[in-house]
């Protein structure tokens, strides 16, 4: 188990190197997915290697001349990576227009990062439950299929798509089993380790990742956890950024244990399965408009974050909810407030941590999280 976890950790530690390694090893073209809802299955079906473009944990230098300091760390970091030439090995970046910040950044990168091979914006409906959203999504996904076919210089058949959907669904189910195990045996795996696993999945072929997950899950099934008096909590937030892992570390260090999450590098990445009984394109479009986790950047008023997290907390027997907001994420600010207003009647303790690319003093985060845990413990 330790060995596998270390391997995941190594893969997650250097996202770009990992992607480059797979590019060399498989000889496949790499598609970089930026923003929230790029349909990876389509590129996978064309024999391409989709990887998620992640925030990089290094100081932002070049991007300062193009992007204000009062923009979220994700786009500042991605712009910086693009300007530094770090993303030049990617054959095509697909940038989903999930907020105006990403929208404008895509154009800034296009304009200034001369080494970028290809950067293609896409738009998916924001109001996901309307009739016209559905047709629009289908059109946009068809466009993505064309794009993938051009990149791969081959056509994608329905069978190709279905096989990819199956591979991805299998992957989603394995990760869900991992989460089930964590709920059943709190502390069996640390929040950072889970984060490493999901992050690795964003960077490597799903088949390979599945092959690593299966023995890990088996080892976890057979492992027992000693009884402890840690306070079970769930963590929500960090929409397109990696949740600053030190927050998770501190949380578990001061007596909390993460039993479930609603994080981007976490359950949001694999929560929505694609229906294998439908025609593949329809199923993919449906998966988008019927996404399971409520998304602060989408408009789906019946899918409330407060209900979603209350259910998650109940299912995991969590005693508190931590929200992690990336500073300057406008959509998330509103969504957090609506969530906060929505859970008032449930009497479950919640706390907000706001993170920044440049980092927030760990001492302050610690005081807050420790106080939160102390207050639950009473």
């Amino acid at each position: 188990m330790e060995q596998l976890l270390n391997k995941f950790q190594q893969i997650a530690a250097e996202p770009l190197k990992t992607a480059q390694y797979w590019k060399e090893k498989t000889g496949k073209k790499v598609v970089g997915c930026m923003g929230l809802y790029v349909t990876e299955e389509i590129f996978h079906a064309a024999g391409l290697l989709p990887v998620v473009i992640l925030e990089k944990d290094s100081p932002i230098l070049r991007a300062q001349a193009h992007v204000q300091s009062y923009m979220c760390g994700y786009i500042r970091s991605v712009t910086d990576q693009a300007l530094a030439g770090d993303l030049d090995f990617i054959d095509c970046i697909i940038s989903h227009d999930c907020c105006h910040t990403i929208r404008m950044t895509t154009e800034i990168i296009k304009r200034n990062a001369t080494g970028i091979k290809d950067i293609q914006p896409i738009f998916l409906p924001v109001t996901i439950k309307k009739a016209e959203s559905w047709t629009y999504t289908l059109q946009e996904l068809s466009f993505l299929i064309e794009k993938a076919e051009k990149l791969a210089a081959r056509s994608i058949t329905e069978d190709d798509l279905m096989q990819s959907i199956q591979t991805y669904n299998k992957h989603r189910r394995l990760l869900k089993r991992l989460y089930q195990l964590r709920r059943d045996k709190p502390g069996i795996i640390s929040a950072r380790q889970v984060s490493n696993i999901v992050k690795a999945s964003m960077l490597m072929p799903k088949e390979e990742h599945n092959a690593m997950l299966e023995p890990l899950l088996e080892a976890m099934e057979n492992k027992t956890v000693e009884a402890n008096n840690k306070i079970p909590v769930i963590v929500s937030g960090s929409l397109c950024e990696t949740c600053d892992e030190y927050v998770l570390d501190i949380l578990e260090e001061v007596g909390g244990v993460v039993v479930d999450d609603d994080l981007y590098v976490g359950s949001r990445y694999f929560a929505t399965e694609v229906d294998e009984s439908l025609s593949p394109l329809t199923a993919l479009a449906l998966a988008y408009v019927n996404m399971v986790p409520p998304c602060p950047t989408r408009h789906d008023p019946d899918n409330k974050l407060s209900d979603y997290l209350i259910n998650m907390a109940e299912r995991a027997r969590a005693k508190g909810i931590i929200s992690v907001i990336v500073k300057f994420c406008e959509a998330h600010y509103y969504s957090y407030l609506t969530f906060r207003r929505g859970i008032k009647e449930f009497n479950i303790p919640e706390y907000l941590i706001e993170t920044e690319h440049e980092g927030v003093s760990p001492a302050q985060v610690k005081t807050r999280l420790q106080s939160f845990i102390e207050s639950i413990r009473g």
């Binding site: 001349a65 193009h66 992007v67 204000q68 009062y70 923009m71 227009d97 907020c99 105006h100 910040t101 929208r103 404008m104 950044t105 154009e107 800034i108 304009r111 200034n112 914006p121 896409i122 738009f123 409906p125 924001v126 109001t127 309307k130 016209e132 959203s133 629009y136 059109q139 602060p296 950047t297 408009h299 008023p301 907001i325 500073k327 300057f328 406008e330 959509a331 600010y333 509103y334 969504s335 957090y336 407030l337 609506t338 906060r340 207003r341 706001e354």
Partner: protein
């Protein structure tokens, strides 16, 4: 540095704006004029008139509060509720206002800003904030809402399908309006108002083009003050006002009357405007004989695109919903950044004898702020003009410090070689 106060010769008829807007807001209390909708963002107001629904724009209301520098109280209420200080300051003002109303604290709100509670909320997401803001209001007042999703046109080849996408939602909105008013939608009235908008756009555009004259007969600040009726009222009285405005500006141009006694520096403004510092900025610039000539903000509003043939369809009175949809698809936020940079911004720099450019990068508006650094670079490199990126805010008072801003503006003017 002289400290004498310079005279700013404003376009006289803008003095009527305050009365026009006061009346507009007074109408919100008139129950005979249909249910009340609070509109978030740039909305198809003509549709409301055709449905006999009262409506006002929440941003306009927030800006109105800010011009008298009375916004801080509302911002504090919103932030105390838990809304981040980094959220759009218009939204903070309006949500704070809404919270106070919902809590029955109306007596704390200065009378001139008071409004009835909404019967419905509408938003069109020219920026993502609109939708969340709309949800927030609907949650606070427990009233129905309607949201129109304006697609992002990243490729001009997608134009048609995007306009149709918006138009089909506008049809649904007609049904929504009919349901909530219990009355049939007045299509003839809609046509009338769309036609009215075309006439307003013509007057407005003509007046603004006259600012190419040296000295300029009107300033950007005159235009900002004059923008209210066009952006939110849109009725016959508005057209009358813009005719007056155009006539007065034309007369001034003919007589060679400028805004300043001595017009030394012609500055172009880009971005939305710090409403709470309208007077301060006007005086600050006048002190150095500088005048804001024009700005892209407020120009890219309804109608301009059509008469400028940017809108491929132009004004199509046989299909007013498509015209409205196309108009909203034309907004700078909904189309590509290089397009946005290309057109009006460059044209103004080239045609209005500009000496320097001020680009506003608002701290709480990411859509306006992003790309400003690149724009500044282009202006410097391509047009060899000095640029100031002013990082303040459209209404949040915490980011504007007179002394700091003045230093920056003075430094900008010092780099102009004359």
């Amino acid at each position: 540095m002289s400290n004498e106060k310079k005279i700013v010769n404003r376009v006289k008829c803008t003095a009527n704006i305050s009365g026009l807007m006061d009346n507009f807001y007074k109408d919100m209390f008139d129950d005979n004029k249909g249910p009340l909708c609070w509109c978030v963002g740039a909305c198809p107001y003509e549709m409301f008139s055709a449905a006999n629904v009262r409506r006002f724009q929440t941003e306009n209301h927030a800006a109105r509060i800010s011009t008298r520098q009375e916004q801080a109280m509302f911002i504090e209420v919103a932030e105390a509720e838990g809304l981040s200080e980094n959220v759009c300051s218009y939204a903070k003002i309006n949500i704070g206002f809404a919270l106070m109303m919902a809590r029955g604290e109306e007596d704390k709100i200065p009378e001139r800003y008071r409004l009835p509670k909404p019967d419905m909320i509408f938003a069109l997401n020219t920026c993502p904030t609109m939708i969340q803001w709309c949800d927030m209001l609907s949650d606070i007042f427990k009233v129905p809402k309607f949201v129109v999703d304006a697609a992002y046109i990243y490729d001009e080849n997608n134009w048609d399908r995007n306009v149709e996408y918006v138009k089909s939602q506008l049809y649904d909105f007609v049904r929504f309006l009919e349901k909530h008013t219990g009355q049939p939608f007045d299509w003839a009235r809609l046509n009338e108002i769309v036609y009215l908008m075309k006439q307003i756009a013509v007057e407005w555009r003509a007046a603004r083009e006259l600012c190419k004259n040296v000295p300029t007969p009107a300033s950007f600040l005159d235009a900002l003050i004059a923008m209210g009726p066009k952006n939110t009222v849109r009725d016959e009285a508005s057209l009358a006002f813009y005719k007056d405005f155009h006539n007065e500006v034309a007369q001034r141009a003919k007589d060679g009357i400028g805004v300043l006694e001595q017009e030394k520096y012609r500055i172009m403004w880009r971005g939305n405007f710090p409403w709470h510092k309208l007077g301060t900025l006007s005086r600050m610039l006048a002190k150095y004989d500088a005048v804001l000539i024009s700005g892209v903000y407020g120009l890219g509003t309804y109608g301009d695109h059509a008469i400028d043939n940017i809108l491929p369809d132009g004004f199509d009175l046989s299909d007013p919903l498509r015209t409205i949809a196309a108009e909203h698809c034309c907004r700078s936020y909904t189309r590509r950044f290089d397009w946005k940079m290309d057109h009006e911004f460059r044209r103004h720099i080239e045609e209005f004898s500009i000496d320097a450019v001020i680009i506003h990068s608002p701290r709480t508006c990411r859509p306006w702020a992003l790309t400003t650094y690149d724009m500044a670079r282009e202006v410097e490199e391509k047009y060899k003009l000095p640029v100031l990126v002013l990082e303040v805010d459209h209404t949040d008072p915490n980011y504007f410090h007179d002394a700091q801003v003045e230093t920056r503006i003075k430094a900008l003017l010092e780099t102009i070689k004359k």
